[in-house]
């Protein structure tokens, strides 16, 4: 299903000039901040930042940036029709683009979280958070790719999901943990280390992450299959 040429083009779109620096800024910021605080105070004070800021804010933002740069610009300027006019399965296009977005999310989102957590000292909780971040990063990238295929306002819609649904409302209503990608990841990490909270149950977290990932990629392919060009609104 995977198409190497399309993946290569998506990678080029992702690493093109300024975008790359924006993508790079997140891990540098996170690791720099955690290192600074660890040096100045101690690892436990800095640890608070890794799940609190890195996991809930940096990871989804990296996923949004990655997912919207592999599909967004083409939908935005309409050049996606040249790609869609090629005799390639639309699901193949969606999967190829998703894999690139996934790779970028894991490298620029999950890996820095692991490094930052390692800097704060405890290896077990770092591994646990890393596993959670890999699961959440995978799910996020599939969901955001699906959103990018539906609307031109993909970035804002994704941001509203992350910032308002998961962060703002998620902090007020604990029940939202059952419908929150970041909380599923945290729950899977909790199976490895008790330092992470326990917001939902494990089979649900694994199942829901899997379903959203598969459904997201399939839906993106499906939207591309019945894609129609619309003017700027």
């Amino acid at each position: 299903m995977m198409n190497v040429t399309i993946a290569k083009l998506a990678l080029q779109a992702l690493l093109g000039r300024r975008r790359f620096y924006l993508l790079l800024a997140f891990p540098v910021l996170l690791i720099g901040l955690v290192t600074l605080i660890t040096v100045l105070t101690d690892g436990d004070a800095a640890w608070e930042i890794v799940p609190g800021l890195g996991y809930t804010l940096v990871l989804p933002l990296v996923a949004i940036l990655a997912a919207s740069s592999v599909l967004g610009p083409e939908v935005d300027d309409g050049s996606i029709v040249y790609l869609l006019s090629k005799p390639v399965s639309r699901y193949g296009i969606a999967i190829s683009k998703w894999l690139v977005a996934l790779g970028a999310t894991l490298v620029a989102g999950s890996l820095p979280i692991f490094v930052a957590a390692l800097i704060t000292g405890d290896t077990t909780r770092a591994v646990a958070l890393f596993v959670g971040a890999v699961v959440a990063g995978t799910t996020y990238s599939a969901l955001f790719l699906a959103i990018s295929a539906v609307t031109r306002h993909a970035v804002i819609a994704s941001l509203m999901f992350v910032l308002i649904w998961e962060s703002l409302l998620g902090n007020l209503f604990t029940g939202i943990a059952w419908l929150s990608i970041s909380q599923w990841g945290i729950r899977i990490g909790h199976a490895l280390s008790d330092e992470l909270p326990d917001p939902a149950n494990l089979p649900w977290a694994i199942g829901a992450s899997l379903v959203v990932t598969l459904a997201g990629v399939w839906f993106a392919g499906d939207r591309l299959r019945s894609f129609s060009l619309r003017g700027e609104d």
């Binding site: 935005d76 804002i156 962060s167």
Partner: protein, 297 residues
Amino acid sequence: MSEHSQPGSRPGVIHDLGYRHYDGVRDGTATIARTLFVTGLRHAYGLGRSGKSKVMPFLLLGMSVMPALIVVGVVVLTGGSSLPVSYADYTNQTQLLVSLFAAAQAPVLFSRDLRHRSIVLYFARPLAAPVFALVRWLSLTVAVWLFMSVPTLLLYLGALLSGLDKSDQTSALLKAVVLQVLLAMLIAGIAGLISSVSLRRGFAVVGSVMALIVLTGVITAVQAISAEEDADAVATAVGLFSPWSLYNGLADAWDAGVETFVPVDGAWPLAYALVALLLVAGCLLGLVARFRKVGSR
């Protein structure tokens, strides 16, 4: 405010498009600027644009107004003697929505004309690039300020209707409004500058979110940790680096109902105000430079 056109007063200005000759009185720069301002303000809320583009601003506005309505309802029903949240603090509590609104709508005002090169058509008229940039910024500032002030005014109305002390509430409201104006100038400047440099809508939004939300998150975390470690000077100094921490610091110093981790006192409020004004000035200079450059191409 009207003046006669003077052909040749500035080269490259198109007055007569060649369809029908006109040599009556022409409105001056002030009228053009005012029209541009009103159009920009309407566009920031999706008015005069397609139905779809109204969804986002009004959805966000609705979400920021809803808690205010609930608060007013609770105060009216239970007959409390004060609002559970101060006017300035309400804006702080809904900062995610305000930042998101600015990040989402700044590209509408600053990116579209540049991306589609329709900026050339604006500059072909007697309107200088710096004026264009400043008017656009003013539109976004007023749009952001309205976004913050609508729920605040609702709170105020609710407080007056439920019979709270009028002079107390009015002075608290006025303080909040002054701070909100400053904050709107900051946010509009930052989001506008980012959107005028980064023309892809997605990247402009992520860039603004980074400057407004991620940076504030980082600074809040650093402030919390340094307050815990009793490094008060660090906690206060770090607050200089984000519009929201500037707003909160000034609100704390001015007794407007926002508590920061460490009280901002001594010479710090002056530093906060100066940094805020310098930041606004810097953003404006950046915007003017950016539009000058684009206009000269």
